[in-house]
């Protein structure tokens, strides 16, 4: 069994996210998801204040393939699996009964149910299918195409360079200390950079006033 440190995690830098939605479009296109299907990667914009003291912070989110995977724990049919090999959290839709427990348990609202009422979510660009569970190709995209680690689609198309993905030990090396510490104290779900001092987001009304899925529980 691979150690946690070899498990793939996401990294997000809100300072570099420019709210362009390229990540969402890229995910949709790669997985052939129609425009009206739920987004597996979602960009939300968090607006607050009164003109001209306004903040509008964009946040890009998907399933974080959490180390502790709360969704997996509540699934009554064991349809959700955290893969031992690389930590990717998959859903076997043959077992899914659409009870939505995982949606309640997930701190990021990642699971969606638009696909025939069954759970579907980001599969870290595993080969196939909405959940890429069961008989999915076990080779993740990042291990296909020869030697080099190929990034998940949303990562390689992120215009701002705000998202990274990779084995925890590698990604954490590129993160700031603050982000790494928070990751460790937060059950190892996602590595998120704190807002930089001096950006307008902090300047006027203060980013801590803005509730995003990443600081909702802080």
């Amino acid at each position: 069994m691979a150690a946690d440190t070899d498990h793939w995690v996401f990294y997000f830098d809100p300072n570099r996210c420019i709210g362009c939605h390229a990540c969402t479009v890229s995910c949709k296109q790669y997985h052939g998801r129609g425009s009206d299907a739920d987004d597996w990667r979602t960009v939300t914009h968090h607006e607050e204040g009164t003109y001209p003291d306004v903040n509008d912070v964009p946040i890009s989110m998907s399933c974080m393939h959490c180390h502790d995977a709360p969704c997996e724990k509540v699934c009554p049919t064991n349809a959700i699996e955290k893969r031992e090999s690389d930590g990717i959290v998959t859903i076997d839709r043959e077992k899914c009964i659409g009870c939505k427990y995982c949606g309640w348990a997930c701190p990021f609202g990642a699971p969606t149910y638009g696909d025939e009422g069954l759970m579907s979510k980001c599969n870290m660009c595993l080969g196939q299918g909405p959940g890429a569970g069961a008989d999915a190709d076990s080779t993740a995209k990042h291990k296909q195409d020869g030697q080099a680690a190929v990034q998940p689609n949303c990562v390689s198309d992120c215009v701002g360079g705000a998202i990274k993905a990779g084995p925890q030990s590698e990604v954490i090396r590129e993160a700031s200390e603050a982000a790494a510490n928070r990751f460790k104290s937060d059950n190892g779900r996602v590595i998120v950079e704190p807002f930089a001092e001096g950006s307008a987001a902090v300047d006027s009304t203060g980013s801590s006033d803005i509730i995003t899925p990443f600081n909702a529980g802080d």
Partner: protein, 773 residues
């Protein structure tokens, strides 16, 4: 089959059926889905890679296309991503290349069944499908008749940017019309481009050397969310991270660039000229300017200093609604960082009646602090010098437009329009010229002039024309009303070549190119083949050998290779390696140093056509402050709100509005995805909305003195009180088939910058709730 497989198969089928265009992506799902029993999901096949370079907004970001070839040899684009290190799509060497959402939309566009699939000609009032041969022959007949009846000089060339340079050859030199409107100076940013040229920094005065900058002013620009080459956003982020650069945004609206800025100046619309002069006032008063540069390389400083002296920050504060201390702070910061200080400026300060002076005053700041062609400042960008058409053409032919004067210069009817001295024609005046019989026909390529100003009059004008020729990929206001419709292949279906200038490589000229990644879809043709088809038919129709000029090239690739011969490259060279660009030559900074002839003009008194135009427009040749309303709309009791139309990161010039995935994200960005509506949105501040009983998601009517339209409201604190905006390119005449949303230019009449004729998109309006849900 197992339930798991059935799930995936049905998803694939559903997606195929639903979006059509999404079929491409559905194939990406597949890999080995060919085992499905009914055989409907045969998406197996080899995945090949190919290159492209994106022309969605014409700025050539490199594309890597993943193409699946099925057993019948049919190729489908299944994924699209960027090219690492690409001058336009990445932040430079060793950095990742990406595609912005508009650029990613190219995948859906390639296989979109809503595209025009066949050539059409109008017979008995109806557009009917015909074969290409008949379409070409008919085009030639109509062009010949048009010339006989109206004169070719009354045919308007409205061909937009193209992946080939032969457009101007066909219409100007061979057919013989001197009349041309295009994007660029006519409908994008006339004042920016033209003033830059006259002042001595060229039309690339809009793009600073981001990566090396320590102080970046995004002036009326949202470069983190309105990409013109993604290196702009990436370069700005890099300057902040690596140089600790200060980012200042000057914009009435709160944008993502304002969000990321150290300082946002929420300026009152149309007062940029006053702010720029006040900054000059501070810089001159406090002796913070580059005396050496001003002394040795500029002209007209005294007149400039005089205008600046009239605009102390306190006066500008009154005009702009900003704080005088903030103005001082930004002026000092900019001057201190200079020459590593750049101003990014484009359409925001240009699409205004007083845009000429705004841009002249802003551009003057560069000369003042001497950031001209210095690292981190304003770069005098250079192109790779490929061979021109004239150089590669082995045939002599007569340039038939050469001595023809454009109607606006020729006839007295237009003597009240100063623009006639500068740009030869103005977009807004075309309807009037049609009425006067000076324009009688039009060819439009990949554009929709009906959304670029004076919309209602343009619609009538199009109707009144004797010949409307449309070369396009989508049914829009022009193609639906044309006499001849020639369906154009889209970018991944054709060979492309881009020759660069500004980019993530500030010291290199470069080229980028790609061969077609897939065959032209349906019965469409690349624009090059369309033009050659027309030329060949014209040769036959007229018996004039000039029209055989393209026979020397068998294919577009041959033509491109000839163009590239000047720098010793072929399209194959560029397209076949790991990346699809080449850095060609290196060029240094400070190209003006030691050049006694280099002059940066603060005052344009020595540019005769401008001096003449300025005199007629009652304007000075030097920088000065011209208040809003002098040339454009004034707000009134009946029309108390100022309207301006803006761009969205999801769409480029209305050419990808039909993409459902993008329109859905657009609705999500506005938090109105639950509504069925997929048009543009009126952004309005709660203060203005409350007064009118408007909430987010309500349909509202926007009315100006000359027109009106209906669209959905987004009530947001990001909108400035008294200032409403909407994204352009929707509604009537657009390529969005269900017509939701509003053509913002139905509000517009003839307001323009008098010098360049640039459409003034600031319009006095009133907004009312349309009632209902």
């Amino acid at each position: 089959m197992s339930k798991g497989l059935r799930d995936r198969a049905s998803l694939t089928r559903r997606t195929l059926l639903k979006a059509g265009g999404a079929a491409a992506g559905a194939a990406a799902l597949g890999g080995c889905l060919s085992s499905s029993e009914d055989g409907e999901d045969q998406v197996s096949g080899e995945v090949l890679t190919a290159f492209g370079n994106c022309w969605m907004c014409s700025h050539n970001c490199g594309q890597k296309a993943y193409v699946r070839e099925d057993s019948s040899g049919k190729k489908t684009v299944v994924n699209l991503t960027g090219v690492d290190g690409h001058p336009r799509g990445s932040a430079g060497e060793g950095t990742e290349g990406t595609l912005c959402p508009k650029g990613l939309g190219q995948l859906d566009k390639t296989h979109d069944p809503k595209r025009i699939q066949e050539p059409h000609i109008r017979k008995n009032g109806e557009l009917q499908k015909v074969e290409w041969e008949e379409a070409f022959q008919y085009t030639a007949e109509r062009l010949a008749t048009f010339k006989e009846e109206n004169g070719s000089e009354t045919f308007l060339d409205a061909t937009s940017w193209a992946e080939t340079s032969i457009f101007s050859t066909v219409w100007r030199e061979l057919y013989g019309t001197p009349e041309r409107i295009s994007r660029g100076i006519h409908v994008c940013a006339g004042p920016t481009f033209v003033s830059g040229g006259m002042m001595g920094v060229g039309s690339n005065n809009r793009v600073p050397d981001y990566q090396n900058s320590e102080y970046i002013i995004a002036w009326g620009r949202n470069q983190l969310n309105s990409f013109a080459g993604q290196f702009e956003a990436k370069g700005t982020l890099e300057a902040i991270e690596k140089n600790g650069a200060t980012l200042v945004t000057i914009d009435p609206q709160h944008t993502i660039t304002a969000e990321k800025s150290d300082k946002w100046l929420p300026i009152k619309p149309r007062t940029d000229g006053a702010l720029a002069l006040a900054m000059a006032n501070v810089i001159i008063e406090e002796d913070r300017y580059d005396e050496d540069f001003v002394e040795n390389y500029t002209h007209g400083f005294d007149a400039y200093a005089e205008a600046a002296a009239d605009m102390p920050p306190e006066r500008a504060a009154d005009i702009t609604g900003l704080d005088a201390e903030d103005i001082r702070k930004v002026a000092r910061g900019f001057a201190e960082a200079a020459p590593q200080a750049g101003i990014s400026v484009w359409t925001g300060t240009a699409q205004v009646g007083n845009g000429w002076k705004a841009t002249q005053n802003i551009t003057a700041l560069n000369g003042l602090v001497g950031n001209i062609d210095r690292p981190g400042g304003l770069r005098l960008w250079k192109y790779a010098s490929t061979a021109s058409f004239g150089e590669v053409c082995e045939q002599d032919y007569t340039n038939r437009a050469e001595f023809k004067e454009p109607a606006i210069n020729k006839y007295d009817e237009y003597s009240d329009y100063p623009v006639r001295h500068i740009t030869g024609i103005a977009h807004n005046l075309v309807p009037e010229m049609v009425e006067n019989g000076h324009i009688n026909g039009i060819v439009v390529h990949h554009d929709d002039p009906l959304k670029d100003g004076n919309a209602d009059a343009w619609v009538e004008a199009l109707d009144a024309m004797d010949l409307v020729l449309s070369i396009d990929a989508y049914w829009n206001g022009v193609s639906r009303n044309a006499d001849i419709v020639l369906p154009e292949a889209t970018q991944l279906e054709k060979d492309t070549l881009g020759t660069g200038n500004w980019s993530a490589y500030p010291k290199h000229t470069w080229v980028t190119g790609s061969k077609a990644a897939v065959d032209p879809q349906w019965n469409t043709k690349p624009d090059f083949d369309i033009l050659v088809g027309i030329a060949d038919a014209m040769a036959e129709e007229t018996g004039n050998d000039d029209w055989t000029v393209f026979e020397q090239w068998d294919t577009h690739e041959d033509f491109i290779d000839d163009e590239l011969s000047a720098i010793d490259l072929t399209l194959e060279d560029i397209d076949s390696g790991e990346v699809n660009y080449e850095l060609v030559d290196e060029f240094e900074y400070e190209s003006w140093e030691g050049d006694d002839h280099y002059t940066f003009n603060f005052d344009l008194d020595q540019v005769p056509p401008f001096a003449q135009a300025a005199e007629e427009a009652d304007m000075d040749t030097a920088p000065e402050w011209i208040p809003p309303g002098t040339y454009g709309d004034e707000l009134s009791e009946d029309y108390p709100l100022e309207f301006y139309d803006v761009r969205s990161v999801f769409f480029s010039h209305a050419s990808n509005q039909p993409q459902e995935r993008l329109r859905d994200q657009f609705a999500k960005r506005n938090e109105l995805a639950d509504e069925d509506y997929r048009g543009n949105y009126l952004h309005i501040n709660p203060e203005d909305a409350d007064k009118r009983g408007i909430s987010s998601g309500d349909m509202v009517t926007v009315e100006s003195e000359t027109g009106s339209g209906e669209l959905m409201a987004v009530v947001s604190e990001r909108a400035r009180p008294g200032f409403v905006t909407a994204e352009y390119g929707f509604g009537e005449t657009s390529a969005t088939p269900d017509g939701e949303g509003m053509n913002t230019m139905t509000l517009h009449h003839k307001q323009m910058d008098p010098i360049t004729g640039q459409v003034d998109r600031h319009i006095a309006v009133e907004v009312t709730s349309s009632g209902g849900d």
